[in-house]
Amino acid sequence: MSGVEIDPERVLKPLQNTSREYYILLGLFTLALLLFLEAWVHQITYGVGAVTGIGDWGISGGVPWGLYIGGFVWWIGVAHGGIAISAAVRVINLDKYRPIARIAEVLTVLALAMAALNIVLSMGRPDRIFNTIVQWPFTVHHSPLAWDIAVISLYLVLTLTYMTLSLRSEISAVRHRLPKWLAPLYALITLGYNPDEDEKIDQILWWLAVAILALVPLLSGGVVPWLFSLIAAQPGWYGAAAGAAMLTESITSALALVLIMTVVFRQAYGWQDMIEDDILRDLTIVLAFLALGTIWFTMHDVLTGYYIAPVNIGALTAGMLELNFFWIAIGGLVLSVVLLFGMIGWPKWFFNTPLLVGVSALLAITILNKKVMFVVEGLMYPTQPPLTNLYPTGVYSPTLVEWILFLGTIMLAGFGFLVITKVIPMIELEKEERELLKPTAETDGTEGE
C-alpha cells in the first residue's frame, strides 16, 4: 500500500511545460504520419490488390490476408494485455504498480484503435466499414468480422469508461493546473462531478476492472482464436491449446510494450524515483515467464503438427519449419528468455534498462512475426487433397506500402501517446497527492503552457 512516493507537481509538469525534445519528437512523428497518409492515399487510389503483396488464394498462388490482419491480431493482443495489467493493479490492489497503470490504459485505447485501423487498411476503402456496421445486426451471429467489430467496440467502451471514470475526481481536483485550451474537454469529463461520488466511482471502477479481467481470457484467449478456427477451410488455425497460446502471446507483447513505454516516460520526465527500478525488475520476472510460456506453446504446436497430425496439418508444420520467419521467431524468443533469466538471476551483471527495453522490443517484434506467420502460413497451403497438390503453395511478402502502413499504425500510437501526455496526468494521483495541488494564492492560473 505504501512505498509509492508520487510527487504530484512533477506528474503535472509535462502538462504545463514542454521541452524542446518533445517538439522534435512530435515533428518526427508528424513526418511519419504524413508518409503513412501518403501510402494510404496511394493504396486507395490503386487498390489493395495492386499495391500489396496480397493475392488470390488458389491458382494465383497468393494469400488473401497478410501483414494487415497479422498486425490486427497483434494490436488486439496488445490491447487485451494492456488492460489486463491495468485492471489487475486495481483489483488485487497492487498499489506498488499504480504508476504504470495509466500507461497501460492509454496503450490499450490506442492499440484498440490501431487494431480497428488495420481492418480498415485490409479492406482497402475506409468508407466500406459502414456497410459492415449497417448489416451488423444481421451478420453478427455468423460472421467473424462482425464479431471482431463487436469485440473491439465492447473493449473500447469498457476502457474509455474506465479511463474517464478514473479521471473525474482527479481532473476536477487539479483542473486549475491544467492547460486552459482543453477546458471544454475537462468540462465534459467532469460533467456533473460531485465529490460525494468518489466512493461510488471507486466501487464501480473495481467492478469494471473485475469485468475486464474476466473478459480478457474470454475474448483474447477465446473469441479471437475461435474466430480463426471457425474458418475450417484453412489448416493450422485451430487446436486444443490455440486459445491459451494466443492469450499468452498477447500478454507477452502487451507487457513488453508497457515496459518500453514505462521506461520512455521515466527517462523523458525524470520519474526514476517514482517508477522505481524495483517495478521494472518485477515486470522482468513476469515477462521472462510469459516468454517461456510462448516457447512452450510453440513446442506443442510443432510436436503435434510434426509427428501425429493428419496429412495436411503435417505438411503445414513441415512447411513452417522451413520458413526463415519461424526460426527468426524462435531465435527471438530463446534469446529473450536467456537474457531475461540472466537479469533475474544475476541482476548485477545483466540488469540494465537499455537492455530491458531492447529485449522487450525484441519480444514485441517476435510476437508480431508469430502473429503474421500464423495468419499467412495457414493460407499458403491449400487445404484438402486433391486441391492441395493441384494448387501451388502460396507466396507472400509484404510490399513497401504495406510496411509503411503497418509501421504507420505504430507511429500513430506513439503520436497518440505524445498528445495524451499533454492532456491527462500519466500517473494516477490519489487523494493525498491531489491535496498538495490545492489552489493557493500564488497559483491562480498564470501557469499557461
Binding site: 489493395v48 490488390g49 495492386a50 503483396g53 496480397i54 493475392g55 488470390d56 488464394w57 488458389g58 491458382i59 494465383s60 498462388g61 497468393g62 494469400v63 488473401p64 490476408w65 481492418i119 485490409s122 479492406m123 482497402g124 476503402r125 466500406r128 456497410n131 459492415t132 449497417v134 448489416q135 451488423w136 444481421f138 451478420t139 455468423h142 460472421s143 467473424p144 468480422l145 462482425a146 474458418i231 475450417a232 477451410a233 484453412q234 496429412v311 526463415n324 520467419f325 527468426i328 517484434i365 512475426n369 491449400p382 487445404t383 484438402q384 487433397p385 486433391p386 486441391l387 497438390n389 493441384l390 501451388p392 502460396g394 507466396v395 507472400y396 511478402s397 509484404p398 510490399t399 513497401l400
Partner: protein, 387 residues
C-alpha cells in the same frame, strides 16, 4: 421420453408420433396432412404444383417460409451449340489439345464403377431449383476453351480464371497418365463463404441456388476467399484483360436488383456467377446457358437445374451411370452443386503443363507464374530489411 418408441407400423406408433407432434408449437393435423401428401408426391399420385397450391399459404403462416417456386422451371433442354468457335486460333488449339489428349488416352476403357452418390434420388419433395453442373472430365481435353470464353464473356482481370482447368498427372491412378479437372465455383448449397460475410454481400439466391456477390455492398474483407475450400474467389484488381477481353456487355444488375453480373470492380470480390446476366436476361436463347458450356467443343459441361430430373446435367449423369461420379471435397460439408464424372484425382496428383497453355491464349496462369506476387519479384531478404 422414457421408453423406446414403438415400431413403425404398429398401431401405437401413430399415437406416439402424434404425442411428439403435439408437444411442438406447430399444428399436428397440418403436419400429418403435409407428410401424407408428400408421400403421394413421391409415389407420383400428386404433382408438386398441386401440393404447393394446397399448402403454400398454410406453410407460410405456420413456419414463416414460402417454399413455393416463384417461377416455372427454367430451360427445357436447350440445344447447345456444341461446335468449337470459328476463331482460327482456337480451332488450332482444340486440335492441338486433342492430339495431346490422344497421347495420354489409355483411359477410355478403364472406368471405375463406384457410383458414388452423384445424383440425388428422385421424387424428393424439395422442389426448389438448384442450378448446378455435371462436368464430364472423361471427355475433357483441356483445351481451355471454357476459361477463355468465360474471360471474354465476363471481362475478368488478368490472371483470373473463373473456370480453371487443372491438367494433372496421377501416379496413384495406375499407369502414369494425365487427367483434367475443371474447377468452377461450386455454387454450394451450404456455402461457407456466405456465412462469414460481414455484409451479406455474398449470398445464395434462394430461387435458383446461385451463389453471388453484391458488388455494391462487398467490403473486400476477403473472408469469403479465406473460408472457401475451393479457392474460387478473386479480388478485383482493376486490370481487365487487355488481350482477350472485351467490355462486359451483359446487365450487371440481377433480377433481384442487386449488382451481381460481370467482372467485379476494384477491391471487390468476384467469382464465377454461372453467367447470371444470361440467366436473368429477357432473351430465352441466353437463359439456361453459360459461356463456358457453349464454348466447350467436346460437351464436357452440362448446366441446369440439379433438382429437375429432366435437366441436361441430370440426364447426362444418368447416361453415364456406369462412370465414377463424385463431388469435389464432398467431405468438407459445403454440399457443392457440381458433380464430376470421371476419375477423382488422388492426393498424389501433380499439376503438369499441357500442349495448350494459358500463356498461349494470352491469359496469364497463376499456377505457374504467381500473379499474386507480380511485377518486380521481391528479393528474398526484403522483408528482413524492412523489419
Amino acid at each position: 421420453m422414457a421408453d423406446l418408441p414403438p415400431k413403425k407400423g404398429d398401431p401405437e406408433w401413430e399415437e406416439w408420433a402424434e404425442d411428439i407432434l403435439d408437444s411442438t408449437e406447430f399444428d399436428t393435423e397440418l403436419g400429418k396432412q403435409i407428410s401424407k401428401d408428400a408421400l403421394r408426391i413421391a409415389e407420383g399420385e400428386l404433382s408438386k404444383a398441386e401440393f404447393h397450391e394446397r399448402y403454400g399459404d398454410e406453410v407460410k403462416a405456420e413456419f414463416g417460409v414460402d417454399e413455393r417456386p416463384t417461377k416455372p422451371d427454367p430451360e427445357p433442354d436447350n440445344t447447345m451449340p456444341r461446335v468449337p468457335g470459328d476463331r482460327n486460333q482456337t480451332r488450332r488449339n482444340v486440335l492441338k489439345a486433342m492430339g495431346g489428349a490422344a497421347a495420354a488416352v489409355g483411359l477410355a476403357g478403364c472406368v471405375s464403377a463406384s457410383a458414388d452418390d452423384g445424383s440425388e434420388s428422385d421424387g424428393n419433395p424439395d422442389s426448389d431449383t438448384q442450378i448446378g453442373m455435371a462436368i464430364d472430365t472423361e471427355r475433357c481435353i483441356a483445351c481451355l476453351q471454357c476459361s477463355e470464353a468465360c474471360k471474354e464473356e465476363n471481362n475478368t482481370d488478368i490472371g483470373v480464371h473463373w473456370p480453371y482447368v487443372f491438367r494433372y498427372e496421377d501416379e496413384h491412378a495406375g499407369d502414369t497418365r494425365e487427367d483434367f479437372l475443371t474447377r468452377h465455383c461450386q455454387h454450394c448449397s451450404e456455402p461457407s463463404c456466405t456465412y462469414v460475410c460481414p455484409t451479406q454481400a455474398r449470398y445464395r439466391r434462394t430461387e435458383d441456388g446461385i451463389v453471388l456477390t453484391d458488388y455494391d455492398t462487398c467490403v473486400g474483407c476477403k473472408y469469403c476467399q479465406v473460408a472457401c475450400p475451393y479457392g474460387v474467389n478473386y479480388l478485383g484488381k482493376d486490370e481487365p484483360n487487355e488481350v482477350v477481353g472485351s467490355e462486359f456487355e451483359g446487365d450487371r444488375v440481377g433480377r433481384d436488383g442487386r449488382t451481381v453480373g460481370g467482372n467485379p470492380p476494384k477491391g471487390v470480390m468476384g467469382k464465377c456467377t454461372y453467367c447470371v446476366h444470361r440467366q436473368d436476361s429477357d432473351d430465352p436463347e441466353l437463359q439456361g446457358t453459360t459461356a463456358c458450356e457453349q464454348a466447350c467443343p467436346v460437351d464436357v459441361i452440362h448446366f441446369g437445374d440439379m433438382n429437375d430430373r429432366d435437366s441436361d446435367p441430370r440426364e447426362h449423369l444418368r447416361e453415364k451411370e456406369g462412370s465414377n461420379q463424385y463431388r469435389l471435397l464432398d467431405e468438407v460439408g459445403n454440399e457443392p452443386n457440381i458433380v464430376y464424372i470421371g476419375k477423382r484425382p488422388s492426393k498424389d496428383a501433380e499439376p503438369v503443363q499441357g500442349p495448350v497453355s494459358y500463356e498461349e491464349l494470352n491469359m496469364r496462369d497463376g499456377n505457374y507464374d504467381y500473379v499474386g506476387a507480380q511485377d518486380e519479384a521481391p528479393a528474398d531478404g526484403e522483408e528482413g530489411d524492412a523489419a
